[in-house]
Amino acid sequence: MDNESLYIYGATLMMVIGTFSCRELPLLLLRGRKLPDWFNIWLKYIPTAIFGALIFPDIFLKDNALNFSLQNYGLWATICAFPIVYKTQSLPVALVAGTVFFCIFKYVI
């Protein structure tokens, strides 16, 4: 097996450990008891912070430096698409709006 496959199977194993522990721990340890309140409050903010943390570096950084040039199509496409996506809160709308704006910045402007 080459290095690339090893990396992908390693990542798969990490995902299995991550998802398995979260799905099974309540069954095996809590046995139906309620989760603590602080956990529920913290849990509310985790997904939004993670997706922010995934999106921002992708659109603002090119080669480890902030990039505000017009050639950073993804940044401008996201800024244009965000109000529409925020309003509709819809995954298909995000895909279409993001892709359309990206193509406008890349091929038209």
Binding site: A11, M14, T19, P26, L43, Y45, T48, G74, S90, A94
Partner: protein, 209 residues
Amino acid sequence: MHFNKKVIQRAMPIYIGYLFLGLACGILGQQAHIAPIEAFIMSILAYSGSGQFICIAMLLDNASLFSILVTNFMVSLRYMFFSTAMYPHIKNCSLPYSVIFAQNITDETFAVNLDSFNKDKDWDPQQGLALGFSPCLVWASANFIGCTAAAWLNPPTELVSYILVAMFLGIWSSYLHDTVLLIAGLLGGILSVLLSFVVPFKLHIVLAP
């Protein structure tokens, strides 16, 4: 596991959703050099939509396995809440059965299963598992097909990697119910950009939240 017409009827919207998301996930996975069979295995074992999209983004970034583990654990924390809520309905099942049942809980199968347990007296864990597992097969097959098709289509990398960002934007928006959540998300993003200058192995994605 009891697979019947009622299960198919209730799961149909999930099948359709997972078919399209799975195709997209397979196409994106191919960009990270994931082979169709690897995409299939990953989908069966992890069975986590946002988890797999995030994993692909991190593979493209050459992130360390440790960062992939911690990020995945954190996005999967919501399953703890789902498993806890599902527990009363499966507490009489054997331990191996409960473990397999819990492994087939996703955002969508949880919602439909909980609704069925609450409203339908004839709904049981046997049908519940069928409702959890059958979308997994659709999801994994769609991943396989998307991954195979992408190798033929050879779409432009720059566009495909942006579609992944658009996908995150769509998933992100579904969490932004109020201004406080929006601010938390923006802060996570800004922190992540700042941290990326100082920490190695793409750990900023983990540390920011």
